[in-house]
């Protein structure tokens, strides 16, 4: 798994709440058996019109957000389906972090497994950043070691990440390998519980 320590990048604002994983990656792209190549399908129905042309009103299609690697959005991002394809699509498109007031549970757990950092900030902080990112190109530094988001001109905001998730991300840990180190305990549990 890819680790996450510090990342600096351009912010793309997506000013919507409750963005569900059906929007992040629609069902027609879930039929593949690989983990890669989903970036082109990210936000497909919002990004493209029925004829497949880029929708000029969608932020990711704007020139000023080309190359964005940090997505800034509304509360409850990633709700709905458990499809990890949503995270694969965000990563494949080039996002390293998503910043929002809150995230859905399965989505944030999927993010950790793929080195995508979810940063929950206060609604006021989100509003400040949203206004700035909508007006102009905004670069942010996301520092997981310090648990801090900052700009070059002095904006800073602290965030918290559950300790186990933070460790997994910082170390890019192979979680299965880690659990398998407890093989003896798992076997003992199976004997004890007769399972």
């Amino acid at each position: 798994m890819q680790s996450f320590t510090v990342h600096t990048g351009l912010v793309a604002p997506l000013e919507r709440e409750n963005v569900d994983t059906d929007q992040i990656i629609p069902k027609q792209f879930l039929k593949r058996t690989e983990r890669t190549g989903y970036g082109e399908c990210l936000f497909f129905d919002w990004r493209f019109d029925a004829a497949g042309r880029p929708n000029p009103a969608f932020p990711l299609n704007a020139l000023q957000y080309t190359g964005a690697s940090i997505l800034l959005t509304g509360k409850n991002f990633g709700c709905g389906s458990s499809r990890e394809h949503a995270v694969w699509a965000l990563r494949d498109y080039g996002f390293r972090a998503v910043i929002a007031p809150s995230f859905a549970d399965i989505f944030s757990s999927n993010c950790v497994k793929n080195g995508l950092l979810t940063v929950a900030l206060k609604p006021e902080e989100i509003n400040t950043l949203m206004a700035r990112a909508s007006a102009d190109r905004l670069n942010l530094k996301v520092d997981l070691e310090k648990c801090e988001v900052s700009t070059a001109d002095g904006f800073t905001a602290k965030f918290t990440v559950e300790p186990f998730r933070r460790m997994c991300l910082l170390e890019g840990m192979d979680e299965i390998g880690m659990t398998l180190k407890h093989d003896a305990e798992i076997s003992a549990y199976e004997r004890r519980q007769r399972v």
């Binding site: 569900d20 069902k27 389906s81 499809r83 933070r166 798992i186 199976e190």
Partner: protein
């Protein structure tokens, strides 16, 4: 021992050991697998040269991608076919039992688990699918996981987790006639929002819940995820035991199992992080008007006015939803006309659901121009319904009678809405494009969807003239 909640009891019973940084390594009793979220997990095992730890606790079925009509062994879509074949191949290679398309047990993963008696009180159950919360109706801890976690469970039969918070939702009083468990859960989500239970495991309790059948309880737990909950659960009782007894995978040492299950309830005085009380007597039949399951109202109500929203972001959300749904503020919900009706999905395609819908349409024809279909949740449901003659009632009324699968709940197969089509659906998600790009979904109970097929618009089922 201090008073514990049902969730805490199951958690304690399944703790293998502490993991790093305050996490817990939790044992998983049952792992259900389907074709869409598993190929990359099996591939991961293959690359790392790992095996499936418990092939006796892992069961696979085909449901999301498959045709519900015609010769199901022939799948035209090459990508869907590839995924189906990948699951067959993976199950063979790793020794996982598969309920394939021609198997009498095949069906939607969350319908067949309970039917086969695999779903049991007190168990930990996972599947790479968010609606795994369905199984919580049996007093199990059941939740959806992503593909990386599917791989983790295949390899270790465990997950590394942080304990969730707990929420008690207590319903006082009884439901009124015509009001179903679908209305109960839609009413709850409308009240607390689609993120109202994020980070929590919900336990449902109270008189109204106790009176429900297992099938109705599954509908409620199924949609817990639409309130953002990690899982939903209902303590097992005599209704649960009666449902399970004699099913294929139900415990053979029944007396011992039942005695243990009887201890699995929240102790008096157990502390929940959040508690909500709802007066069940006041719940009306609900329909959704927007693009998430929280955008719902009593069928007697009207489409909301964005200008009366509590704040700017809510106003924008409603505006966007009404634009997508092509609805005007103030419109009466009963006036909204429909083009399609879908009775199916893991929320509402069990025998009881089909019976309720059939009772409504008996003696009626569906309205002109409407296309309506019934997709049973499993082959077993389909056979049982046919034995009762329900398929004849549906066909006589003008419904299509299909084979079991997820079908138009998510439209991964050919069953899809066309852009602009409006559908009365018994499924669980009304997200933009969920049932087909540009399609407009309204969620409701099976009886309400059936009545909409006949009337051509939404109706208050409490006023329905049954012909029996």
């Amino acid at each position: 021992m201090p008073a514990r909640t049902l969730f805490e009891k199951i958690w304690d019973n399944h703790t293998v050991c502490a993991g790093p940084e305050g996490s817990t390594i939790l044992y998983i009793d049952l792992h259900l697998v389907h074709e869409v979220t598993s190929p990359q997990a099996f591939e991961g095992l293959r690359i790392a040269e790992r095996k499936v730890r418990r092939t006796d606790r892992t069961f696979a079925t085909l449901d999301h991608n498959i045709p519900t009509i015609g010769n199901r062994m022939v799948i035209d879509d090459p990508l869907a076919r590839g995924q189906v074949e990948a699951l067959r191949h993976n199950c063979r290679e790793f020794g996982v039992p598969l309920f394939d398309l021609e198997a009498p047990e095949q069906g939607i993963v969350h319908v067949i688990g309970p039917e086969l008696g695999l779903t049991q009180p007190g168990a930990t159950i996972v599947c790479g699918d968010s609606h795994t919360s369905t199984h919580g109706a049996f007093g199990a801890l059941a939740f959806g996981i992503g593909t990386s976690e599917v791989e983790h469970v295949l390899a270790t039969q465990c997950l590394v987790l942080k304990k969730a918070k707990t929420m008690l939702v207590n319903f006082t009083g009884q439901l009124s006639p015509g009001v179903t468990s679908k209305d109960v859960i839609l009413a709850l989500i409308a009240q607390i929002g689609t993120d109202g239970a994020t980070g929590h495991v919900i336990e449902y309790s109270g008189e109204a819940i106790r009176a429900l059948s297992m099938e109705a309880r599954m509908t409620i737990c199924n949609m817990s995820i639409e309130a953002g909950a990690r899982a939903g659960m209902i303590a097992a009782d005599q209704i649960t035991f009666n449902y399970l007894r004699g099913r294929r995978y139900a415990p053979k040492a029944w007396g011992e199992a039942e005695a243990h299950w009887k201890t699995l309830h929240s102790d008096p005085g157990a502390k929940f992080d959040t508690t909500i009380e709802i007066d069940a007597t006041r719940i009306a039949p609900f329909v959704t008007w927007g693009t998430n399951p929280g955008m719902a109202a009593p069928v007697t109500g009207v489409v909301p006015d964005p200008d009366r929203a509590a704040n700017e972001s809510e106003r924008n959300g409603i505006r966007r939803a009404l634009e997508y749904m092509d609805l005007r503020p103030g419109m009466r919900l009963e006036e909204i006309p429909v083009d399609r009706v879908f009775i199916g999905s893991c929320t509402n395609a069990r025998l009881e659901d089909l019976r309720a819908a059939a009772q409504v349409i008996k003696g009626y024809k569906i309205s002109k121009g409407i296309q309506a279909m019934v997709v049973p949740g499993s082959q077993q449901v389909k056979r049982a319904a046919e034995q009762e003659g329900l398929h004849t009632i549906f066909r006589d009324a003008g419904f299509e009678w299909r084979e079991a699968g997820c079908s138009m709940c998510l439209g991964m197969n050919a069953d899809r809405l066309q852009p602009g089509e409006r559908c009365a659906s018994t499924s669980n998600r009304n997200f933009e494009g969920r049932q087909g790009a540009g399609g407009r979904t309204h969620l409701m109970s099976p009886a309400m969807a059936a009545a909409a097929a006949v009337s051509g618009h939404f109706v208050d089922i409490r006023k329905w003239q049954y012909k029996t």
